[in-house]
Amino acid sequence: MNLTFSPEEQAFRAEVRHFLADALPSDISERVRLGRHLRADDHLRWQNTLSEQGWLASNWPKEHGGPGWGPVQRHIFDEECAAAHAPTVVPFGVNMVAPVIMKFGSIEQQQHYLPRILSNQDWWCQGYSEPGAGSDLAGLNTRAVRDGDHYIVNGQKTWTTLGQHANMLFCLVRTDPEAKKQAGISFLLIDMQTPGITVRPIITLDGAHEVNEIFLDNVRVPVENRVGEEGQGWTCAKFLLTHERTGIAGLGHAKQALRHLKSLASRVEHRGKPLLDLPSFRQRVVKAELELIALEVTNLRVIAAARDGGVPGAESSLLKVRGSELRQELSELTRRALGPAALPFFPDFLHGDASLDDERAQSASASAQYFNRRKLSIYGGSNEIQKSIVAKTILAM
């Protein structure tokens, strides 16, 4: 066994780093570094740059216009992006709906949608959760009734991330209320301009407008916008949940957060000495460092298995649980490191375009980020759901 990257992989890392230093606009990386919200245009500017480089669809095969990277290269790319404060690519099009269209979509759907995703023409959002269907996703109630060559969709979706910018929605709907829970679900692609769709913001506890609720009132969706067969929607959804989740630990983000924390805690003073020298604080930083080391090796094990042809299934649940716990701990320590400077809240700076003096700007986002990071153990299947998945699939309980 060995844990070292090959010379080719190291050269690739250098290439990515060089590209990021060259191509990532400093105003965007500065917004990311300070934990400020990104405007739609910031996302698009960066994603267009990636698209021109051919690196936007990092998990796509070459035949569809991706770079054809393997899991190791994707891992290196993600790490370098996080280290450079590059925005995370909005995943709903390129990483979520696209693999479903590639796997289950018709040739026509592939030819229509995939190029538009690659060129950032479409901004996709996700219609999965409902007010009554969170962890119990298959309990969803949004109804789609066939009417000639259309479905009439009625219902409500929620927690739709960045839906305020989106022009396309991929959506799980119930097409057969008589069938067994999972069997009556279909996967629809819906144009957000269709009459009957209302998007309403949900403001989260950090003051951010990140998620939305979507109301669907007699929305007419052409039958040709269904992916896969009627009743096959759950298969599509499950495929998505196991597809390429080798990056789910957010390792690059955790590494960057720990680097920032150590740097911060060695600058902040406690009784005339660096906070990092305070034993109780240092102990927690050291433990976070150990957890990060362990998580990195576990992640590399999963990546190497995927590279060698394995399908990461329930192992990604492990990465999700431990990765989210670590990132939450790091956000907790970063908030604590600031002491009283963590208290002031400048929502117009964080979530808008108001300016703020440099000193206050440096510490403005820590507490808001701490509250925002609570989502990590809730979304994408809560950590409790992940544990139940491990119990069922790995331990056969």
Binding site: L3, S6, I293, L295
Partner: protein, 372 residues
């Protein structure tokens, strides 16, 4: 980056798994522990036949040149069976010290028979007064009249009874740390033998004016070799703990599936499922750390020591967690001597007391923490 085993390593793993499953059941292990130590056991002779005694040593000293991964495979298999043989304490640690320090005459006398299974050794580095610090000892060695004289006491020396001789660290008048080989029964050397709470044969070695010929001094400055061998020992014992953690998890899971309460198997209760998953998460993260340790042995010393300290600290805490959960999930049965998992739980808790505990190693990580 590669986590796959070579064909040879897979064969080694399979052979050892079979050997441990066949020859170290709960009953067989009890019998082994009850038997008086008289020469090499049948199991040790099998180790010799399989080449295990040569495996972790370099070809320069007649070994098979096994690397950290090979050692990990062996230790993990031994940990799974809680094999009582002192493969690490009686062979690997003293053998590596000899390989690093002994001249050819000393090697011929002590190392060659060790690899051939003709005798076992012990390594006495620990003293209660300095807890886990191997580099600060109160045992003294001084040279006079063409001989060495040793005075002091070494505590919890594993495999002391079965060893033909014990490697002893002692403070020299030069201020350096020396290494000596003290034959069992040397005048002035007395042993107080016992078993540890996790059933390891051990003892304290008192040295009262023990005189040794010059040829029994292996090194007058052991520091670097000692650090190297302790790193190896820590990586190895982490791998052993992984084996024991695997078995503790497997036994607990099997029990949850079999035991019924309220008319249902315990494995159907979500509170218990999630505890079991937490054990599994601790195991997998610790396995990663043990792999890190096994693959760090050839790194420059500060990088090696940092990673191995991280691994030992992490595995120590995980092992205790898994042990405590294994007892809890077995309910009152887990409290009994009869319940086999209790043996694993004891070993996993006490694992943290061998070769430096979590606090000791966290301090190392803390001291070496890099702040970019």
């Amino acid at each position: 980056m590669d986590f796959a085993l070579t064909d040879e390593q897979r064969m080694l793993e399979e052979t050892l798994s079979r050997l441990v499953a066949d020859q170290v059941s709960a009953e067989q292990r009890r019998a082994m522990l009850a038997a008086a130590p008289e020469g090499a056991s049948a199991l040790w002779r099998t180790f010799a036949e399989l080449g295990l005694l040569h495996m972790p040593f370099s070809e320069d000293v007649g070994g098979l040149g096994g690397d950290g991964t090979d050692l990990m495979i062996i230790m993990q298999a031994l940990g799974r069976g809680l094999v009582p043989e002192h493969y690490l304490a009686g062979l690997v640690l003293p053998g590596q010290l000899l390989a690093l320090t002994a001249n050819s005459e000393q090697q011929k006398h002590w190392l060659t028979p060790l690899l051939e299974g003709k005798h076992q050794l012990a390594f006495a580095w620990q003293e209660y007064s300095t807890r886990y610090d191997a580099f600060t000892v109160s045992t003294q060695a001084k040279q006079q009249d063409g001989q060495w004289q040793l005075n002091g006491r070494k505590d919890v020396v594993l495999n002391l009874e079965a060893a033909a001789a014990t490697l002893v660290t002692a403070q020299l008048e030069s201020g350096k740390l020396g290494l000596f080989i003290v034959p069992t029964g040397a005048p002035g050397a007395s042993s107080h033998l016992y078993r540890t709470i996790d059933d390891q044969a051990a003892g304290d070695l008192t040295l009262d004016k023990v005189t040794l010929p010059l040829a029994h001094c292996l090194s007058e400055d052991i520091s670097d070799a000692l650090a190297e061998v302790l790193a190896l020992g820590r990586a190895a014992i982490c791998a052993q703990a992984i084996g024991a953690m695997e078995e503790a998890c497997d036994q607990t899971l099997a029990y949850l599936k079999e035991r019924k309460q309220f008319g249902l198997p315990l494995s159907t209760f979500q509170a218990l499922q999630h505890r079991m998953v937490d054990m599994h998460l601790h195991l997998e993260q610790s396995r990663s750390m043990a792999i890190l340790a096994a693959t760090s042995l050839t790194l420059p010393s500060s990088e090696r020591d940092y990673k191995i300290a991280a691994a030992k600290a992490y595995c120590g805490e995980s092992a205790r967690f898994i042990a405590e959960q294994a007892i809890q999930l077995h309910g009152a049965m887990g409290m009994t001597e009869e319940c086999y998992v209790a043996n694993y739980a004891k070993h996993l808790v006490m694992f943290d007391h061998y070769l430096g505990d979590s606090d000791y190693h966290l301090e190392t990580v803390s001291d070496l923490l890099s702040v970019a």
